[in-house]
C-alpha cells in the first residue's frame, strides 16, 4: 500500500500543476499511490491522473475525504491572496484562507493516517515596512502591526499550524514561505500588475522585489512530499530586482503616484487598463521585501534553479513587450 497525497485548492493553476506532477510521479514508480485533489470548484484544466473531489475545505467534509481515502500526506495550497479573475476574491479570501486552514488542520488532527503536512505559505507573512531588515530570515519576527488582508490571513494560518504542531508532534510539518511567483502560466499578483500598459508606482520609492520561478516552487513542493523536510523555509529566487528596473526591462512606462492614497489611485488606473493591482501589493510596492534563502540551501538542501532575474527574464520573453520596448527595451 503506497502513499496517498491530498492536495487542496487544485482549481488554481499552480496547485493543479503540482497535483498533475505528483500523479506523474505516482505513475513513474515512486511510493506515491494516489493523488487526491480537492476544491470547491472544478479545475478549469485537465488534472490527469489526479482524483478530483469536489468539496469545501471550510466544512467538515474534508475530514470524511481523508478518512475514506486514507490520506497520509496533506499538501495545503489553499492559502492564496484574493485576486480578481480567480475563484478567490474580496472577503471570500479570508474565509477560505483562515477558516479553510482551521478546518483542514482539525481534520488532520483527527485523521490517524496523516503523517505529513506541507503548507504553501507566503513571504507576505513578513509584511513590508521601513523597519524591516534588508533580508528576512525564517526566525525574523514580523515588524509592525498586522492590520488586514492576505498578510493577516497568512499570519493567522501559520499561528494555527504552530498550534497544530504542538498538538500532533508526530506529524512532519513543512511550511514553505514562497516569494511572489512570476510566470505567464500562473495567475499571480505580480503577473496581474505587470499586465498593465503603464505601471503605477509609489512616488519616491523604489522597492526591492524577489520572484520565484514556478519550476522551483514545484520542485520544492514535491521534494518535501517525497522526502522528509520538516521546518519552515523561505523559497525565493536569488538576488533582487528593483521595481524601476523591471519596468525598464519590460519597456513599460511608470506613473509615480503620491504615497498617500496610492492604493485607490493605482487600482483605478490599473482597472482602466484592464488589469488589476491586488491590495496585497500596495505596501510591497512601497517598501519591498527580500528574504534569505540560506536555510533552503543548507537545511532543506535545495538550490533554486532560477534567480530572480532569470525568472523575470523568462516571464518577460513570454509577455507582450511594453510601450518603450521599441526604443530601449531589451531584445
Amino acid at each position: 500500500m503506497g502513499r496517498v497525497v491530498l492536495v487542496t485548492g487544485v482549481a488554481r493553476d499552480l496547485a493543479a500543476r503540482f497535483a498533475r506532477h505528483l500523479a506523474d510521479l505516482a505513475e513513474g514508480g515512486t511510493d506515491i499511490d494516489k493523488v487526491v485533489g480537492i476544491d470547491v470548484v472544478p479545475p478549469p484544466g485537465e488534472l490527469g491522473g489526479v482524483k478530483f473531489v469536489r468539496a469545501d475545505i471550510r466544512t467538515p467534509v474534508v475530514a470524511k475525504v481523508m478518512a475514506v481515502e486514507e490520506v497520509d500526506t496533506v499538501v495545503h495550497m489553499g492559502l492564496v491572496p484574493s485576486q480578481r479573475g480567480t475563484t478567490v476574491r474580496g472577503g471570500a479570501a479570508k474565509e477560505l484562507n483562515v477558516i479553510g486552514t482551521m478546518q483542514l488542520l482539525a481534520a488532520c488532527q483527527r485523521a490517524t493516517s496523516v503523517k505529513k503536512l506541507v503548507v504553501q505559505s507566503s513571504t507576505a507573512v513578513y509584511g513590508a515596512s521601513p523597519q524591516d531588515p534588508a533580508m528576512f530570515t525564517e526566525s525574523s519576527s514580523p515588524r509592525g502591526a498586522v492590520k488586514s488582508g492576505f498578510r493577516k490571513d497568512v499570519v493567522e494560518a501559520e499561528g494555527y499550524i504552530r498550534g497544530f504542531s504542538r498538538r500532533r508532534p508526530d506529524i512532519l510539518i513543512t511550511t514553505l514561505r514562497m516569494a511572489n511567483i512570476l510566470s505567464d502560466q500562473v495567475v499571480s499578483p505580480f503577473g496581474a500588475y505587470y499586465e498593465s500598459a503603464v505601471l503605477p508606482t509609489v512616488m519616491g520609492f523604489d522597492p526591492r522585489i524577489q520572484f520565484l520561478h514556478e519550476q522551483d516552487a514545484l520542485n520544492v513542493l514535491s521534494e518535501s512530499v517525497v522526502d522528509d523536510r520538516p521546518g519552515t523555509f523561505n523559497v525565493a529566487g536569488d538576488g533582487v530586482l528593483l521595481l524601476s528596473q523591471t519596468a525598464r526591462r519590460l519597456g513599460k512606462p511608470i506613473i509615480p503616484l503620491p504615497p498617500f492614497g496610492f492604493g485607490a489611485a493605482a487600482s483605478r488606473i490599473a482597472r482602466s487598463m484592464g488589469s488589476d493591482i491586488p491590495p496585497d501589493l500596495h505596501r510591497l510596492l512601497k517598501y519591498g521585501r527580500v528574504v534569505d534563502t540560506a536555510a533552503l540551501r543548507d537545511i532543506f538542501g535545495y538550490e533554486p534553479i532560477f534567480t530572480t532575474e532569470a525568472t523575470f527574464e523568462a516571464y518577460r520573453q513570454k509577455v507582450k513587450p511594453g510601450l518603450f520596448a521599441m526604443i530601449g527595451g531589451r531584445r
Binding site: A134, G204, G328, R330
Partner: protein, 436 residues
Amino acid sequence: MSDEGFPMNNVPIGTRGKAGRGNATVSPSAAARSLAGGSAAPKKPVKKANAGAPAKNPPQQGGPRTTAKRAAKKPRTASAASKVAATKNPPQAGGVPTAGQTNAPRLRAVTEADAQAAATAAAATSAKRTRTATAAPLAAGIPLDEIFSAVLQGAQRVLGDDWEGRLAAILSTIRRRVTGDFDVDEFGFDEHITDIGIAAIEPLAEKWFRLEVRGEENIPQDGGALLVANHSGTIPIDGLMAGYAVRKYSGRHLRPLGADLVFSMPFVGQMARKFGATLACAEDAERLLTTGEIAGVWPEGFKGIGKPFVERYKLQRFGRGGFVSSAVRAGVPIVPVSIVGAEEIYPLVGNVPSLARLLGFPYLPITPFFPLLGPLGLIPLPSKWIIEFGEPIRTDAFPPEAADDPMLLFNVTDQVRETIQQTLYKLLVDRGNAFF
C-alpha cells in the same frame, strides 16, 4: 524708431485733436515739442539720406503718419510700396493737420539700398568675428564643418585622447541604465549610481569643505570592519563625507546603517538604499560585517545630529552599544572615526518640537539662515572639515559569548566613545578657525 524715449516720438499715432495741444500725459504740447525740436532736427536729414528716395518722397509732404505706417507694413523690398506712398501722399497731405517738419515719418519703407547696406555691414562684422577672414562669403550659410570640428575638439578635451572609446562606454552605460540592465545587491546597493554620486559630491568635499583626512591607513584594506563615528550637522552630510573619504582613500564602499526614518521618507530612502545604506539593526549589521563589507554606524543617532549648536562636539549617549555586539559576533575590528566640521554647516539654534512631532520628525531645525532665507538657507556653511580614522579596536580576541556580556559591551562602547571625544578635541585645536 532709433530714438525711443525721445518726447517727440512718443506721440501716439492717430491722436486726434488740434495740433499743438498736448494732453499732458502721452502727447506733449507744441511748446514742449518745439523745445525738443532743436535736437531732433539734425537727425532727420541723416535718415532721409539713408532712405535713398528723396525724389519720390518730398520733404514738405511730411508723410502723414497713417500712410507712412501703412507703407511700412507693406512688403519692404518692393519699390511699389514707396510708389504707393508717394502717390497717395499729396491728396492727404493737406487734410491732415501736421506739425510741419517736426512731424517727419518715424517709419518708412525699407528699400533695396537699405537691404544692401545691411548685408554688407553684416558681412563686415561677421568677417571681423570669424577668425578666418576668407570665410566671410560663407558666413551666410551654416558652417557645418566648423561645428563638426568644434564638437570633435570638445569631445577630445572633455574625454581625452581615446574619446571615441569613452564616448561609446558612456553611451552603453546610459543604454544599460535605461533598459534596466544593471545589478543591485540584496540591500539595494547600486555601485554604479554610488560612484556617480561620489563624483558629484567631490567638489563639495574638496573645495567647499576643504576636507582633510587623517589616518586613512586605519581603514582595513580587506575584510569586514565597523566604522563608528560621531554624528552632527542637522542633516547627515557627515555620512556622505565619510563614505566619500572611505571610497577615495581605500577604494572600498562604506555601507552606512541608517535609522528607519530614512527608509520611510520618499526619495531619501530610495537613494539611501541605492547608495548602500541599510537599516541600523543587528541582522543587517551582522550580515554586512560577516560578508566582509565596511559598515558605518553613527550610534548617537538623532540625539547627536539634532543637538543644539551650543553643545557642539559634545558626544551624546552611544545608543545601547548594539554596534559593539554586532562587531563582536562578526569578529571584525571597530574603527573610531572623528569628524570635525559637520557641526558648523547648519548651526542649529532653535527647534520646533511640537511641529516636528506633528510631522513625525525627531526635530525641526531652525538655523540662522534656514527658514529665514528659504531654500538658500539649505546651503551648508563652508566650514573646514577633518575626518580622522582612529586605530582599529580588535574584537576577534573576544570569545563569541562576549557578545551577550553587557558589561563588556558597555566597556568597549565607552572606550570607543572616549577615543572619539578626545580625538575631536585634538582635531578642533588643530583646525583653529571653523571657516578659514
